[in-house]
Amino acid sequence: MNWPQTMLGAAGPHARGVESLWWLFFWVTTAVYVLVLIAAVLATVRRNRPVDPQDPAASRRAGVAIASATGVSLVLLFILLISSVRTGRYSIQGLADPSHINIKVTAQQWWWNVEYESTIASQRVRTANEIHIPVGRPVLLKLQSTDVIHSLWVPNLAGKKDLIPGQEAAFWIQADREGVYRGQCAEFCGHQHAHMALLVIAEDSGKYAMWLESQRRPAADPPDEMAKRGRDVFLSAPCVMCHSIRGTGAGGRTAPDLTHLASRLTLAAGTIPNTPGHLAGWITDAQGIKPGTRMPTIGINGEDLQALLKYLQTLK
């Protein structure tokens, strides 16, 4: 659960722009701060030196000092302003490349729905809270929101982008080195805004292709009796009203797709790690882990729960 989420470890072109801007601001403001402190200390030390207010040379010196300080401040502020505007303009620019990947990301309270688009229906992939991307290839994210305003922010890869209901926003990201980068909703969106994270997993193109291929497959049939019972529990419980598992009758579209649940790293949008224990806790008491989440409390007995867990573990 310890993935980097910092704009000071840029792993993509847009983030690098933001990072160098940050360092520019840091060094300029630090230098100004140190110079001002030195001037203040000097003034304090020299305060007893007598100055004749009538002396024209002294007042000229003061005038020159004030004018040059103002001039230097103006120049510095303009340098900062111009570089900030340039970085801003660059970071919303497209990374035009014919080989780019289209991914639709839909934010809702409080998780991210991720869809890999394709003109062929069977090639489409739907997953949640995890975006796999190949290293070095630009990715066009089409951002939408179904309820309130959210904001996507993966500091290692790019700046923020708001997701506004009723509008589609285009946003480019690219990762230049492998890694798992944590992202977070950056616009207050309700109770569980803080628990609305997502992971961007950048891997080399071979691994990415393998991942995509495995995600395209429908869920495998349960391998044993217990998992089979677990599937029956899933299909006869309230789960099926919202979740879908491709290859079964479960086709709910309002909650995360669980076809390959066991292949993900986290549960509940980065709230808890994806382990059998946490999964059991999530199914029995989601409201205790993430109060207000759309996952309701359902009564389920121990045996059914064990079978259900067994089944969900098989959804690799």
């Binding site: 506004i164 009723g166 509008q167 006869s236 419980a237 309230p238 099926v240 009203m241 919202c242 309002t254 008491d285 409201q287 205790g288 109060p291 207000g292 759309r294 309701p296 409390t297 359902i298 009564g299």
Partner: protein, 177 residues
């Protein structure tokens, strides 16, 4: 006078809290369908008094809005539309075939009814079912007006401003939604 106004504001404030109170994890108002449930006027051996369950969700704006969300998520909207009806009967009036008391509606959702209403027993958790009951009653105007959900943007005659194309300045293209 000032003190009176201050007290009044405080009292009104607490009333508002109650109206919006969110209870995420609780046992639902009632867990079963009562034996005394009445479906119609005709009953052998005289009419028994129905014991009405007062659903506290009826007065809770948050519960009603959650009910509205479930109503759409669970596809009630597919047959009953947003209250206007279609394949299923409309819910905007308060004269209903199987009764309009909270427990009647709850029983209808859980048991299903002939000619198309499916049974959602085991599929909709009790708390959500009671929230749907409160929302459905609010459609019929049976709940206090101050707790009711607002009408959806797309149900208004005029399109919401964010979704209407804007005219740009002279000679320039405008923003397309």
């Amino acid at each position: 006078m000032t003190r009176l106004i201050a007290v009044l504001v405080l009292v009104l404030g607490t009333a508002a809290c109650e109206r919006e109170q969110r209870r995420f994890n609780e046992a639902s108002p009632a867990s079963g369908i009562p034996q005394t449930l009445k479906m119609g006027q005709l009953e052998p051996g005289g009419s028994a008094q129905q014991v009405t369950i007062q659903s506290e969700y009826d007065e809770n704006a948050w519960a009603i809005s959650e009910g509205k969300r479930s109503y759409e998520w669970f596809n009630c909207v597919g047959c009953h539309s947003h209250g206007g009806g279609g394949i299923g009967p409309p819910l905007m009036d308060s004269r209903w075939i199987y009764g309009s008391e909270p427990e009647n509606i709850f029983a209808t959702i859980m048991q299903g009814r002939p000619n198309g209403m499916p049974s959602f027993r085991g599929r909709i958790p009790q708390q959500q079912a009671w929230q749907i009951v409160a929302y459905v009653r609010s459609l019929a105007g049976l709940t206090p007006a101050d707790a009711r959900s607002q009408r959806d943007d797309d149900l208004f005659y005029k399109k919401p401003e964010a979704r209407t194309p804007q005219k740009g300045p002279e000679g320039q293209p405008g923003r397309q939604p």
